[in-house]
Symmetry: C2
Subunit: 443 residues, 2 copies
Amino acid sequence: MHTILILGGGKSTLFLIDFLAESCQTKKRKLILADIHLASAQAKLKNRANTQARQLDIEDVESRQLLIKEADVVISMLPAFMHPLVARDCLDFGKHFFSASYESVQMQEMKSEIEAKDLFFLNECGLDPGIDHMSAMQIIDFMKSKNQEIISFKSYCGGLLAPESEDNPWKYKFTWNPRNVVLAGQGTSRYIEKDDLKFVPYHQLFKRLETIQFPGLGDFDGYPNRDSLSYRTVYGLENISTMLRGTLRRAGFCKAWNVLVQLGMCDDGFQMNLPENTTLRQFLNSFLPYDPRLSVEEKLGNLIPDFDFPTWEKIQWLGFFGNDLLPKTTGSPAAILQAILEKNWKLYPEDKDMIVMQHLFEIKSTEGNKEIRSSLVCFGEDSTCTAMAKTVGLPLAIAVDLFLDGKINLKGLHIPVLPEIYNPVLAALKNHGISFREEVRIV
Amino acid sequence: MHTILILGGGKSTLFLIDFLAESCQTKKRKLILADIHLASAQAKLKNRANTQARQLDIEDVESRQLLIKEADVVISMLPAFMHPLVARDCLDFGKHFFSASYESVQMQEMKSEIEAKDLFFLNECGLDPGIDHMSAMQIIDFMKSKNQEIISFKSYCGGLLAPESEDNPWKYKFTWNPRNVVLAGQGTSRYIEKDDLKFVPYHQLFKRLETIQFPGLGDFDGYPNRDSLSYRTVYGLENISTMLRGTLRRAGFCKAWNVLVQLGMCDDGFQMNLPENTTLRQFLNSFLPYDPRLSVEEKLGNLIPDFDFPTWEKIQWLGFFGNDLLPKTTGSPAAILQAILEKNWKLYPEDKDMIVMQHLFEIKSTEGNKEIRSSLVCFGEDSTCTAMAKTVGLPLAIAVDLFLDGKINLKGLHIPVLPEIYNPVLAALKNHGISFREEVRIV
């Protein structure tokens, strides 16, 4: 009898928990869900057979370690910075470890010890990172097996709203950690295009757009994200001419978001201490030059080149030209902006989210060059059963299930770029309605 | 007999050393100059009576502490991050401490101990910070004594070239730490204008300009620098409507520098690892969008709004459109840019630098409002006897001299904002040709 321990039962764990709890009823398994809030964990488990909710303060080392000792496999759904702590315990007590977060440097430092202890540690097995790796590697390895050369690979992903819930000018609401959305893209993004290395500072990022289309869904803005260069090695594409990973927003979003970036409102580097009666209009004005002859609107128009109506409407809709009080007057500009956005970009209970992912390949083959467009679209059911929770949770649940069934027979530190992982996981995801539509075009 | 110890004999210490070495010949004093390079320290002291050069590796705790024990007064001309180390030793061995650097938080934490031990610690006693504080406070205290209300105070300073040495389109060369010049203004600058708090992110900073004029010298660009808000308390101007501290460059410099900022070339946050045969043109291109139909020049023109000829000429003069190899291909973009600039902005031996500083006050008085413009201009003699070394070193030397003569009778932790310090220091600076020209205009 295997015991699975899930640490943290937050918003994105619904499908993960349901999948594994249900597997406990058909397979010889036990599931423990540990969360700081016992009642919340109990509600998620719904008294299903062989499941157990536990209260746990993750900082309480003794309780945490006792719990980990009980398990065979530990899934960490905690905030990313806590993973190394849990992984360390797993190493010490000989437990396998799974997460949907990026493989950190601390994790990489454990590599040889994981191997020596014959354990399996799998990170980056959610949506992005996760499904992106698996679906891309399936195509890459197939092309390599056919001796076809991949000369360009671009991969975009976004967590957005289903079209029927796009009821504001931004066509966006928070379906994921708001702080990460506000800070998205900070630092310098890096990619390679036709053998030219490209570096994009944050204040240029939301202008460096490519229009990405999904059949039946229309246009999206794609912007380059993080360090795409490092993925050349991860994907075994060291000599590729073009490689870019990016993020998707609805067409027009980035131009308006760039206004906030240009103003400095996404800055998280210093603390503001504004008077308590500061209005949104005054907050906006504090980022604009002083000019007694001009209105806030005129000064903003002068600061932003090519300020069109759709952009204007988005800024106005957030209330920046009005005299409502700020929801928060202390903290970084990013924290104050986040509070403003959280008031406006809140999901209604019936809102449906949408995950969109697209891989664009250019292939050189003996019959001529071809383009492959591989697209995933996944809709949520409502603000609880979200596409985000489904696409983050299911790959992880499936990977754990396959591992415990002996169908993933690997040891060591991994991300899901090996066929032994991606083939069975992608096959199982297809059974849950998560699959890619592939179009090929000879150019 | 007092012993003065100077730690570090770098570029800006020439006038400091000369002033204090000469005072050793007329007053009962001894001067020790400790530097990592003994020969360089010896050369600066020129065998003058009662002076002594010593070799010191500042990381060698024992040697450093033995040296500090020999002194009555320690002047740290080391890089700013080393000051707390030296200050700590001074506290432990009961020595007075002087520097031209910003008073750090670590220094502030020593405040009560400095007072308890009846020592005098003076920081920010160079040019900027230093002469700016002293000259401003003399005016502020005078106005207060006349019951005149200061409603606006702007203060600008720049280390530039004397007009006769302005022989490139930037009208700029490095007369000071190149790395600080490349990184200048990063973070968010803060000021208050007509009671409106203003926040300027780095990528807007070099557009937020005010034209500043010096009689006979023409126009300069002034841009807001760092946190001007905190100086309201330092200068006792808590309720002032307008308060801004800024940096001066020659008119037109900031518009061209902004091109480098917009590109992301001043970014110090990540490491590039470019091929060794990368040209300046390719380096520039790596920050531009890919477009096979456009030249590098066209892409740059599209990226930068309002790209005029004087700006174009400055970028071209640095070699960015040519095929010379990069002087350096690894390091942050800022480090590579610095290497490019160091080749181009190098002082010739006969080049003369120039310090410009201007305070602009608006005063409300019973006779009506008036504007005061108080300007300092100081020229260097050549690339060794610079105005920078003079204006940084002399205030510090004079403060030490006055303190040892018992003419500054203070204890505790200070910056030179008190009349007991600024009055005698400014009077002595006047004798060395460093004085402000004041113009008053009724408005």
